[in-house]
């Protein structure tokens, strides 16, 4: 960029200059910012996936995003490729789209997020962030490679990170001073296991004329159409999501993961209590216990099948578990930086609070839990290599093949 040349909003948004120099070169009143956004400062937005969560997700982009395009595979016959689309790739080609809200079923989340960032867009993507573990790593790599803003569509950590008790726990855990963590967090109920189960006896039905079923299936196997595989109840099928555990789990564990400072790692032992899983339909399970390397334990207890979890009782982290010297270190530690919400992140180019790398670690909890349920085996996980140790067949669920032309 030439020195002294006016910086347009688009140049600021697309480039890295904003991150490096926004507050020295460009007057804040030109660029806008929290509470100072000029009326002319709007972003071009697109909504991809216009089902039940669509408009709500788009609303999370912030007040200064103009909806220029909507896209859904159910718009066959009404798409004009100007405002209404069936193919997200056409939307991403548009230079006037700056930010994208993704509210498709989860089997499309990673692929569209990555494609959007490859096209220079910022992304707010509904939860769960992904359908399997390798997808999350690929999204985080795209976020880093292209220096884009990514926020997953669950926001509990923003409130949790302002709570004094949570901040203290966060600091203790972040410090690494607690060597043997005995804390146990149990999520009991609220995981909609029955509600988001799949049908095991669905018979093929005619594909509605308004639906591009092949595109809907996308990277997942092309199955015979059945309405239960579409429109919300898709949550009950491994092809598209992972049942209530995947659907609700990220809501619950996103703030918990922040509180316990586990945004950059994953559990090392995962064990489930569940009946054998169906190959296509998500179904019943009892509980899943997940232990981190430092001893911290997270538990999903469905309360909907079998005996409740009773191995451990819930337990918090206490500063009294530290010696005096460590306590003093914690007292002098600065509080963590406030998390940045998406509307501010896209203006300031600061990383969003629910960024891809953190959201990926939270989604990994759900996926590991579901892999333990599906394989019926105790898993040992390497959080650095992001592989299950010594279980080749279980690893096939960590990184799942996709139907061409879709790939990570």
């Amino acid at each position: 960029m030439q020195k002294g040349k006016e910086v347009t909003r688009r140049q600021f948004l697309k480039g890295s200059i904003g991150a490096a120099a926004a507050f020295t070169i460009v007057p804040r009143h030109v660029l806008g910012g929290p509470g100072q956004t000029p009326p002319s400062e709007t972003f071009g937005g697109a909504l991809i996936g216009c089902g039940g969560r669509g408009n709500g997700t788009f609303g999370e982009l912030g007040p200064n995003v103009e909806k220029l395009a909507i896209c859904d595979v159910k718009f066959v016959g009404r798409a004009d490729n100007k405002k209404v689309y069936t193919d997200f790739r056409r939307v991403l080609e548009r230079k006037d789209i700056d930010v994208v809200a993704i509210a498709t079923p989860p089997h499309w989340h990673a692929l569209i997020s990555i494609a959007a960032m490859e096209a220079g867009k910022d992304v707010l993507c509904e939860k769960p962030m992904t359908r399997f573990i390798a997808e999350g790593r690929a999204v985080a790599e795209a976020e880093k490679r292209y220096n884009r803003i990514f926020q997953v569509g669950t926001f509990g950590r923003f409130g949790a990170s302002q709570n004094e008790s949570n901040i203290l726990t966060h600091k203790i855990m972040k410090s690494g001073l607690l060597k043997n963590c005995k804390a146990v967090h149990i999520k009991r109920g609220g995981l909609k296991v029955k509600e988001w189960s799949g049908m095991v006896n669905a018979q093929p039905q005619p594909i509605p004329k308004s639906l591009d079923w092949d595109m809907y299936c996308g990277p997942s196997p092309l199955r015979p159409y059945h309405p239960h595989r579409f429109g919300g109840t898709h949550r009950g099928y491994w092809d598209y999501e992972g049942g209530g555990l995947a659907d609700m789990g990220q809501h619950h564990y996103d703030p918990v993961q922040w509180t316990f400072a586990k945004d950059d790692t994953s559990p090392v032992e995962i064990e489930a209590y569940a009946p054998p899983a169906h190959p296509e339909a998500c179904g019943m399970w009892g509980w899943v216990e997940m232990k981190y390397a430092d001893g911290l334990t997270f538990v999903f207890d469905s309360g909907e099948w079998g005996e409740p979890y009773n191995r451990k009782e819930p337990r918090d982290v206490s500063i009294s578990e530290l010696d005096e010297e460590s306590r003093k270190k914690i007292e002098t530690m600065p509080d963590p930086e406030p998390l940045v919400r998406f509307p501010d992140a896209i203006r300031t180019r600061k990383q969003a609070g629910g960024h891809a790398a953190a959201a990926h670690r939270c989604a990994t909890l759900l996926h590991l839990a579901n892999i333990a349920i599906r394989t019926g085996r105790k898993l040992h996980y390497d959080p650095v290599k992001e592989e299950i140790i010594g279980d080749e067949e279980a690893n096939r669920l960590v990184n799942q093949p996709m139907r061409a032309p879709w790939h990570l």
């Binding site: 347009t8 056409r90 884009r148 049908m199 054998p276 394989t375 093949p401 032309p405």
Partner: protein, 281 residues
């Protein structure tokens, strides 16, 4: 309901019945299922074939229980941690492929091989790559199994047409077959955009240093989406080359992208290239 007419049918009948919503949410008895699956397994090959005989294509009957039981069996043999038993199970499934069984049933067997199969079944899966109805699941199962899959995919490439050629090209990239580089390079000029893009990504994922020039040419394409995806392939190739110590080739990719992405709308690519150059030192 008809009374089970054989010991196997009796065991299969112990699988749960779908509830009123057609789901497995009510009266799911783990112990009952586990013990039935264990007994089915004890019956060996005969029982596996018997289960497969009970399968029907979607819409042509009720096979809910044997469908579930076969998958439970696939997971069960993985849990045994006994390579010989797992191999025997996989070979039995593979023996039922390529024949007269309905294609939908064969697809299901291939998916169970993706769960429990190993190198003993890759040759059988390889033969399915030229079958338009089985190519996609077979390629996915091969990619998941990994061990021995590369040669099967490579050999299939000259034999397949249409959408399934795309499947093979993509999966050659997934398994990172360096011996397919020549064939993949030729496909960069294919008339099918998806094949061109799949070939570019495959070469990038393989990390082929000789593809630098060809991928840069592809990345300067006029079509917006193709330009975006081919540019991504260039950045991926550069990262793979850097990791392999091929610094000069990586820098060539980054330098080209830095110098050609002058449109403000492509500033983010320019920045990504600059970041890559800085990392390359």
């Amino acid at each position: 309901m008809e009374k089970p007419s054989s010991p196997l049918a009796l065991l299969v009948s112990r699988m749960p019945d779908p509830d009123e919503q057609g789901m497995y949410c009510t009266d799911i008895n783990k112990q009952k299922i586990d013990s039935a699956i264990s007994e089915i397994h004890e019956g060996g090959r005969k029982n596996v074939i018997g289960l497969i005989d009970m399968l029907v294509p979607p819409g042509e009957g009720n096979d809910v229980k044997p469908h579930y039981a076969l998958h439970c069996l696939a997971v069960y043999v993985c849990k045994l941690n006994d390579e010989r038993q797992q191999r025997r199970f996989a070979e039995t499934l593979a023996s039922q492929l390529g024949g007269d069984r309905p294609k939908a049933v064969q697809r299901y067997l291939v998916r169970q091989l993706q769960v429990a199969g190993g190198k003993e079944v890759v040759e059988t899966l390889g033969k399915l790559l030229t079958d338009e109805e089985l190519c996609e699941p077979a390629a996915q199962a091969l990619a998941a199994i990994g061990d021995g899959a590369t040669e099967q995919l490579r050999n299939a490439l000259p034999e397949v047409r249409g959408r399934y050629r795309l499947t093979i090209v993509q999966n050659l990239g997934v398994v990172r077959d360096a011996k397919s580089v020549g064939a993949l390079k030729k496909l960069l000029g294919d008339e099918d955009r998806e094949v061109r893009l799949a070939a570019a990504w495959a070469l990038a994922n393989i990390g082929d240093a000789s593809s630098v020039g060809a991928l840069l040419k592809a990345a300067d394409a006029e079509g917006v989406y193709e330009r975006i995806k081919a540019t991504q392939a260039c950045l991926l190739l550069a990262e793979n080359l850097l990791e392999a110590g091929r610094k000069s080739e990586a820098m060539k990719l980054y330098t080209h992208l830095r110098d050609t992405r002058t449109d403000p709308a492509e500033q983010y690519v320019r920045d990504a290239a600059k970041k890559g150059l800085a990392a390359a030192g």
